[in-house]
């Protein structure tokens, strides 16, 4: 009886299907990776899904493992692989894939790396797959139906842009704000210009003046459009205070009324500057 039960259990075990070949990953493919263990696994062979359908990660770059690890006959262990992945899959590479300009601030993007499985490694593959996931504020990858290639140049970039939600109290907005994606209600939008606060930035006027050139660069205009204003926030970490330049809707609320929370982005659409190609492929 025990033997029958053991057989039944082992046959019921579904250790995982082999999936697709991990030796030759492709840039631009989307995958449904839903558990932390899959996210952190050394290889990821789940069949790709169309990027317009719900998925959690997208391959933004394919590169090759450098030496000395590449020389090892047996695949290095998970820690060694992931450490190499951190060096090979950089945020600069990701920003290029997203067609981010120097004024685009992002939020909720996590990078992970995958490698050939043991068989593919033994067969000679040294491909490194760099994936990006859109995460919530806890770091949990979110299901999206968005193709992230050149996303920051396109019309659907709000989900990955950094915005701030400031508190309104006693008729004034707080200096700091909570980080939220611009697809959620917010009061200001980051323009990726962070400046250590000094005496010249002590007043709101000083801060706005300092941030104005960056705002114009972000908006792609020579002067501020109607209805848009510069609205920097101040972030304090320990004793360090940083001015984070941001723009916001300039509509003045009625006295005693909280400023309107907005969703979406003020960033103009532009022509993508990258092809999102892999370093080596």
């Amino acid at each position: 009886m025990a033997a029958v039960m053991l057989t039944a259990v082992l046959s019921a075990c579904d250790q995982g299907k082999p999936g697709v070949d991990t030796a030759n990953p492709e840039t631009g493919l989307c995958h449904a990776v839903v558990t932390p263990e899959e996210f952190d696994a050394s290889s990821e062979p789940s069949p790709p899904v169309p990027c317009a359908e719900p998925h959690t990660t997208q391959t933004f770059q394919v590169t090759t493992m450098p030496e000395p690890l590449a020389k090892q006959e047996a695949r290095p262990n998970q820690q060694q692989l992931k450490a190499a992945g951190k060096r090979l899959c950089t945020s600069e590479d990701l920003r290029a894939y997203l067609s981010a300009s120097s004024r685009d601030g992002t939020i909720g993007l996590a990078i992970t790396s995958y490698f050939p499985d043991r068989d593919a490694w033994a067969a000679g593959s040294r491909a490194v797959r760099c994936d990006v996931a859109v995460t919530d504020h806890h770091g949990t990858p979110q299901e999206i139906g968005l193709d992230l290639k050149d996303a920051l140049a396109g019309p659907h970039s709000a989900a990955v842009r950094l915005c701030y939600r400031q508190e309104y109290k006693d008729g004034i907005l707080s200096d700091d704000g909570t980080d939220v994606p611009c697809s959620e209600p917010h009061t200001a939008e980051d323009i990726s210009a962070w400046i250590a606060q000094d005496a010249s930035l002590a007043t709101p006027a000083g801060r706005e003046a300092r941030c104005l050139p960056y705002a114009l660069e972000f908006l792609g205009t020579e002067k501020l459009p109607a209805g848009v204003g510069v609205q920097p926030i101040i972030r304090t970490v320990g004793t360090a205070r940083t001015v984070r330049c941001a723009v916001a809707s300039a509509r003045q609320p009625a006295p005693g009324e909280a400023p309107e929370l907005v969703t979406g982005t003020l960033a103009p659409q532009r022509v993508a500057v990258t092809g999102g190609a892999g370093k080596n492929g």
């Binding site: 259990v9 019921a12 839903v34 952190d40 000395p68 499985d117 770091g139």
Partner: protein, 575 residues
């Protein structure tokens, strides 16, 4: 012989009592003559009711069935009412449970999901290395999968959704525990109430949150706990000598294989199990429950002696074959375990245990044949930022360090075992895993809150931390009393005590040498469970040693013998 001796003694005592009554003068003060003292009466009542009496053997099916049901029901109640309690997952559960095609519904972040228990696992298709040990995809086998699989079958029937709910696994564990308690009562010797008392104490150990909470968890510890109880029952049955010997041996083999397959650390008690199986069963006891008669050695011709010796060897053939089977299985099972586990254990043995607690870590590195640069990774795990896996010379570690190297090191540095033992005992006496919660989120319990509704073992262990030596002494006493009961009273309970104590010690050192300090509290849980079983065993051993089987009145015994001969009553049931 025993019957005559004890019966005679009883008669003498009765005669003495009469004489005393006739000539005893009135007491000068205090006690009132013939009036019994309340404490003494209570003691005598308890001894009469719960004492083992004559060490009778044989099943007591009715009592066993009721006790098993009650034990299972109590465990279900303590685990699920008024709210479910379990053991939070520290991340180890996925590697085992995912092989049933389910994923845990829990927060993504480690610090978040360890705060509470998350019993729901929903169907999910894993690919490649997404399922397995620590992201390597190496399959993680355990006999716990059998319990998990049964839980998966039960989950849809309980209304806990599709997939697998560890509360259903908890129910399965409770049922198995109830069956084992019923079986234990059937294989224990002595009066029914004595058996029930010992089974109740075992239930008390199991019901402590430090052990019971594992029933509702994705860990493999429940299989180990139940396996240890299963091995105990099977060994008692084997030694009692009831029923076909091959069947008794087969039960021992199955129970041992189940236990070893639960967690590899349990393989450490194989030498003890092997000795236990080669410790031939006791001679059958007389039907009326008297101690077994030991045949005196008789003089024989050399030819007869040779035949006797031949029979003895033949008697060992079957258990020896069974031992070989178990060893072969264990070797195969250990080899089938993820290589990743072995690598991490060796890493911990060196960088978490050996070097940080060394007065001369540089010299130790030299002894191990490792580059001095590894000193920078002292006191790190493989996941640390300073981990040795990032050292370009890490292949040197993989090449030179094995379990044999570690054993060799401690063989040549035995003084290091003393402090290591002290740390291990302290860890064993700290069985509560404070870094994982016991409750479901949303039940008015804070993060990491521990359930302590029945903290018998926890309380005793915590108290023993004040004097760990006393705790080891308790185990030693259990071992010595076990030997005394095994040889003087010829009871299988004594043998079981020896197996449990020695098995626990073997496992203790296996844990300390193979992994050491890394997550030591959890690793010591099974050792702690075996140590906690010394409680019920001590009660049984002391009761057996203190019992006087001959005290059963002659009239009663005659009646029982007659009934037994007629086959109309279970001879083991003593009124």
């Amino acid at each position: 012989m025993a019957e005559y001796g004890s019966g005679n003694a009883t008669q003498l005592r009765e005669r003495g009592g009469k004489a005393q009554k006739a000539f005893t003068p009135a007491p000068v003060r205090g006690r009132k003559g013939t009036k019994a003292r309340p404490l003494g009466s209570l003691g005598r009542y308890l001894a009469r009711t719960f004492g083992p009496g004559a060490l009778t053997l044989g099943p007591v099916h009715g009592a066993a069935m009721i006790s098993g049901l009650v034990a299972a029901a109590l465990m279900v109640v303590r685990l699920l009412i008024p709210e479910p309690v379990g053991m939070g997952d520290q991340g180890e559960g996925h590697g085992l449970v995912c092989s049933l095609g389910v994923m845990n519904q829990r927060p993504w972040d480690y610090a978040e999901f360890t705060k509470y228990i998350h019993p729901a696992w929903v169907p999910h298709q894993f690919y490649g290395e997404g399922c397995g040990a620590n992201g390597t995809g190496e399959p993680n086998y355990s006999s716990q999968l059998l319990l998990l699989w049964l839980g998966k079958l039960l989950t849809p029937l309980t209304g806990w959704g599709p997939g697998l709910d560890t509360r259903a696994v908890g129910l399965v564990c409770c049922v198995v525990f109830g069956l084992l308690i019923a079986a234990l009562i059937n294989v224990l010797p002595g009066r029914t109430w004595f058996r029930i008392l010992i089974a109740a104490l075992v239930t008390g150990v199991m019901a402590d949150g430090v052990f019971a909470d594992f029933f509702i968890s994705p860990y493999s510890e429940p299989a180990a706990f139940l396996g240890i109880l299963g091995v105990s029952v099977a060994l008692l049955h084997y030694w009692n000598g009831n029923g076909p010997r091959w069947l008794a041996l087969l039960l021992v083999v199955l129970a041992t294989v189940f236990t070893v397959a639960a967690k590899t650390q349990t393989a450490a008690w194989l030498p003890v199990i092997a000795l236990a199986m080669l410790w031939v069963p006791l001679p059958r006891r007389a039907a009326d429950g008297e101690a077994a008669v030991v045949e005196p050695p008789t003089e024989g011709t050399p030819a007869e002696d040779a035949v006797r010796r031949g029979n003895r060897w033949r008697a060992l053939l079957l258990p020896a074959t069974a031992v070989l089977l178990i060893v072969a299985f264990s070797v195969a099972f250990i080899n089938a375990q993820p290589k990743r586990f072995a690598e991490v254990n060796l890493y911990n043995a060196v960088f978490v245990e050996l070097l940080p607690y060394s007065p001369t870590p540089e010299a130790d590195l030299e002894w191990l044949g490792l580059d001095p640069s590894f000193i920078n990774s002292m006191d790190t795990t493989v996941a640390s930022t300073r981990s040795a896996v990032y050292n370009p010379l890490y292949p040197q570690f993989q090449e030179k360090i094995s379990l044999g190297t570690i054993a060799g090191f401690y063989a040549t540095h035995p003084e290091r075992l003393i402090t290591m033992g002290e740390r291990g005992v302290t860890a064993m006496l700290t069985p509560e895993l404070g870094y994982v919660g016991s409750y479901l989120e949303g039940f008015e319990h804070g993060p990491y809150d521990k359930e302590r509704r029945f903290p018998v073992v926890l309380g005793l262990f915590s108290a023993a931390k004040a004097a760990p030596v006393a705790f080891v002494g308790m185990q030693l006493v259990t071992l010595l009393l076990g030997l005394a009961v095994a040889f003087r009273k010829r009871s299988a309970v004594g043998r079981l005590a020896v197996v449990i104590v020695l098995g626990g010690w073997f496992q203790f050192w296996a844990v300390m040498l193979n992994g050491g300090q890394a997550e030591i509290y959890k690793q010591m849980i099974i050792v702690g469970f075996m140590a906690a079983l010394c409680g019920p065993l001590l009660v049984a051993l002391i009761s057996i040693l203190a019992s006087e089987p001959g005290k059963v009145p002659e009239r009663k015994r005659r009646g029982r013998r007659a009934k037994a001969q007629q086959g109309s009553a279970d001879p083991a049931i003593v009124g």
